[in-house]
Subunit: 404 residues, 4 copies
């Protein structure tokens, strides 16, 4: 259990911190003002183009991706960097080309894509020239279990034909989104874990219809391509658009989960740290009951609790990352579930108190806290509600065992 | 402690329940679809006009207002009706002309307004012809303590001149909003509770500038006039626009608080009951782990906990209402603070579980749950954060006493 | 819903409060000192004899028992009196002949006993001449469901023969305990709710063997007859010792539950109020961080939270009592379960904070807080763990319904 | 941050686990039965003598003590071993001569004692020939702040004379207790942190009077020397009995805290693991609602939550231990406070659920759960209530800072 930052991580951390201070944080306010001026619009903030160029210049590009195609960092190396990007979750992850769902999609393409698929899709994604979406969740089934997916992918001559109904497909309404990786059933029988496949669907394929954006606690995330409801009606693509073998969809999805959890959880911890900075600023400058908030016992308890929870959350994520790097995702199963359960709610608690400390400003668009909160809260549902993970973890915990 | 519904309350309850079933609930979906089609717009849903006419026909009008000017119900009589309107908080309260902030403003005018003020403003408000806003909260001070208010109201000849900066002024961006009741300082010295006054400012008075709407967890509440940031720059009104005597602002504000708390809390309980209905529907129709959600222990615990919390919340509000009716607001001080503390968080908990049970749909615009949640959460801050009330109640609780 | 104290309740309340002040509280310290001197001993504190005489003189006797045999109070009338006795739970309930398990046993005898049974057992119990125990819980089965009880009651000629193993039989080790009401199976088939019976077993019947006292968090409650583990080996009693008809045991047990819950919950609330008094005293006299505890925000929040929880708990119990009086135990089912769930944990929370505020003294024998806590905690298990009641209540809550 | 067990730790872990299985666990039941037979008695269970001999033979002796006098383990090495002893907290720590308060006293003597003091007291303590107590807590002051201590240590000729009143002095009633390390004031002015000293008081010094044992939630811990109330009346000892320089008491006490926290917290985690084993056993063998407890969602959630909390608690303690070893106690200040706050309550939660799962048996003497609970709960007060540590940690957290 060695969680220390190694030399490379420390260097990248320093570079990233400087980038945040010099470019990202200053861009936040301008972006927010522009938002209010223009209203909702399905496009990224213009400043992102500059941020991306600058990040690339500084060697802060594709840090999330292990192996030859990316920066080659381990999960443990990338984790503290993901945390830093979480401090400005709207700008920093994209600035570094490290934003979901593109990250997961690039991982899938790097691991399961063939050469042609990687050339056509992975290359421009790595270059930041296009965006992508991952179409798994369906309104009619409990999508946390991939084996429930009802969308069909049927062979018809030299084509696969997709029919189905998806929603909460993040990023799909971005004008630059060119690719949908769609999860569906290629088999109706056989082992349940061998029925699903993933298929690459160019966004402009006929039959793909985007209906609307779904909101999360009032946020449409329009500036990140939103969360689309999409129907697929006789959407035909060539046979070579399938990822890996037919029936490999569930296995690919599982492999994708672990790193994504690390990223999400570390970014949440970054949001919590950002919130703590805001709390500190407010607590020393704002007075109530005749004394600075920082001198009040209740506020001190909140701050202490927040620190204790952040410490515990971060250690748990680092352990999961380290296990994934050293013994593999399967052996890290309990820890990967544990961070899914523990981190969003810890951060949600911290954000709730930070909102409370800021009064009306805390719930408003003037501070990032309410939006952070909505992200943390929604992650208690994403990839399956906490309860699914609690049950699964609990079942293993209650199984008879011999070891100490 | 007699909390029973009396005959009149029962009759009105039946009338109101029928109105909800026949008119309000059916209008909800149409309204939601219209929203998505048109995008944000500072105007009320068109269906409200019909709903208001129908409610009036059925004798469901101005039920909130005691005394000769309104329906003459006691707090205890109105409470269960307010609960029912909370089941459709966007449409029902306005349909009955019982929506904040107009309700509080009408109370103020009824109690503290002189004949001319009542003629000019109370009459059209009671008739539902105009809307109003209550401008108290300021961005720069802890506005939960009215004595902190910094906006100045200065005498200049036969005019009062208002200068100040307000935000989260609900309803002010409604095109029908004609009146702002503004809280400000008419004196810089003397007893702190005698420095504030309330003044009637026609919305179109020169110097009143509305800058933007503040959001609450992503919701702009644009269809209810939003939550405006407003500056008052040398806003001059005739001397007779002051409410009551100079220095009476704090006392009037205090009087306004109690009934408002009852209304808010009972509507929250109505939202919780609505959520329970959705939970029931989902729990029997949705399957996970091979069994209906309703058969699962964790879901059963949530439902039971929700019921226990609703029961306790409602009893506490009814006791507060009954005390206000029988011994007055001052003697009900502890209970009025207690419901402010207890009810929003109880309902927040219930809504959180209801969201969780509904998965992605729960956080989205397809169900009212996320919006309900944002209302409940924001009420932990409105009228002062919970912590202010906890401290105040705790201080009284710890004071030496003699009685049992 | 009229929860007001009526005239008789007010009079009795005043009498009881005076009795507490003049006799009970002064006796507490002497009793505690005597305890330390003598060590554990299965006998009641000697002062109880005087207290009982005095209570009887003042008309504070058998207040718990409705109907002709007792004081004839309703549940709603007795509830506030039970609360007061809870402030000194070791002395006051017994002083008034209102202590469990005798109360439940007297109720059973009054309702289900025949004339001879009432003459032989109810009369001396009402007179406070003997004590009794209720033998239901068994170590090997989930006894919260009476249909699980495994003890057999078998007919053999003109005798019933009892064989079984019970534990946590409160009061059985009191030297004055003369009667055990034993729950067991008189039938092995037929409807499950018709298989159980209750039988009267004189404590000195051959075959009744008391093995040891069970402790609850370190407390043996030796001064109240403890919580005995008992085996029944071929314990033969005459046929007329059965209570009611064979197979009526479950129904009698159900009837006994409701009032017992009210008593337990109201006494817990009395303990919470007593704790609040101790908190107040400590908070104004003890200094930390250079200020009295009463001036510290965290302590003020605890006090406020405690008050809010007490208020909600009491209202819920009063509603349950009122429903039992007006529509019967069956119709009050949800409320009776709700108080079982809500009150012990609310009081446990309050006591936990009171302990914390008192530091080391809080956990010790010098204050009643730790013992109160153990009582509250154990009540989360007595009559079935909370989870059983949550599930049952939740299941009803999730059942389809029509009413509003 | 390298928390891995090194080779020596792994070897000792294996040795210790074997010792637990072969000797300690089997001795538990015999000890418990002996307890019931004999009643409270101020002496250790006889089996401890054998256990201690066996532990010593196996090289499991004085493992807690770093440096030349002890086993020389680091905090990080000892931590997982302390966890294992926590699984049988009544027997295992003493069997290894690693039980509080002797451990802290030996640390003090090793670090601050002179040669003669170490010869006279440290040697027999290390050999397990005598026991000792640490007399700091006083009934009349908030002893969590050592500067509040009121006991006086006054120079009179060639003697120090101690006068004061202490309580909760653990272990002092053990017949083998020969030494009291007493904290008191040697100066009435000067810097507040230089007024305290520690002095070695042989237990049989005239003027030392033990009055009684204090209980913790009903547990007297009589078999571990209890928690004594002691008065010191003109207790005179030679001048060379002072530890270190006059005025060094506070500094010595601070140094003693860190390792003790690690020990306590790791033992608590061991108790939690033991509880989890009991939970597993019960969950697969006990049936309710027609299914094994292990198949029920609520039980699965408890088990999962328990695992998540144990993981987080252990990582935090290991980090604190690692920091103490690598950068020192002072730099580990935040983490040492954090484990004091986080671990007892996490374990308390886990134990509460384990108790609940076991029903009446859970609160009784038949399982170690209720006693474990009382230990965890009391640790929320020992060394100062959590609130003191929260405030202190929170204050540092809210202080302005520059680093990321």
């Amino acid at each position: 259990m060695d969680f220390a930052h190694d030399h490379r991580t420390e260097e990248l951390r320093a570079t990233l911190l400087a980038f945040m201070d010099e470019f990202v944080y200053p861009a936040e306010q301008a972006t927010a003002q522009a938002d209010e001026a223009r209203g909702p619009i399905w496009a990224r903030p213009p400043v992102l183009r500059e941020l991306r160029a600058e990040a690339r210049r500084r060697g802060l590009w594709n840090l999330f991706l292990p192996g030859e195609h990316g920066a080659g960092l381990t999960n443990l190396q990338y984790a503290p960097l993901a945390e830093i990007t979480g401090r400005s979750p709207r700008l920093a992850p994209e600035a570094l080309n490290c934003a979901a769902p593109d990250t997961g999609n690039m991982e899938i393409l790097a691991v399961a894509g063939n050469e042609e698929q990687r050339r056509r899709w992975l290359a421009p994604l790595l270059a930041g020239e296009i965006r992508s979406a991952f179409a798994m969740t369906e309104p009619d089934v409990a999508s946390s279990d991939a084996t429930n997916i009802a969308t069909s992918i049927t062979r018809r001559g030299d084509q696969w034909v997709v029919n189905g109904h998806k929603w909460f497909i993040s990023g799909a309404m971005d004008p630059e989104c060119r690719l949908l990786i769609v999860m569906g059933r290629t088999a109706e029988d056989g082992p349940v874990r061998d029925r699903q496949s993933m298929i690459l669907v160019p966004a402009d394929t006929p039959g793909v219809e985007i209906h609307r954006g779904m909101s999360q606690f009032g946020y449409s995330d329009d500036d990140h391509g939103g969360h689309a409801e999409i129907t697929f009606t006789d959407v035909a693509v060539p046979v070579d658009h399938l990822l890996g073998e037919p029936g490999s969809g569930f296995a690919i999805a599982q492999a994708r989960l672990g790193p994504g959890r690390i990223h999400h959880c570390m970014r949440l911890i970054g949001m919590a740290e950002r919130a703590m900075e805001l709390v500190r600023d407010r607590a020393v400058t704002r007075t109530a009951f005749g004394r600075p908030l920082a001198d009040q016992g209740v506020v001190q308890e909140w701050a202490a609790e927040s620190r204790v929870r952040i410490e515990q959350a971060r250690l748990l994520v680092l352990k999961a990352a380290w296990l994934m790097d050293t013994v593999g995702n399967r052996a890290a199963h309990t820890e990967i579930q544990a961070i899914k359960i523990a981190v969003p709610r810890a951060v949600e608690w911290i954000l709730d108190k930070a909102v409370q400390l800021h009064g009306a400003a805390g719930v408003s668009q003037d501070l990032p806290l309410a939006r952070f909160w909505a992200i943390a809260r929604s992650l208690r549902l994403a990839d399956g509600p906490d309860e699914v993970h609690l049950r699964s973890l609990g079942r293993r915990e209650l199984a008879p065992r011999t070891a100490h």
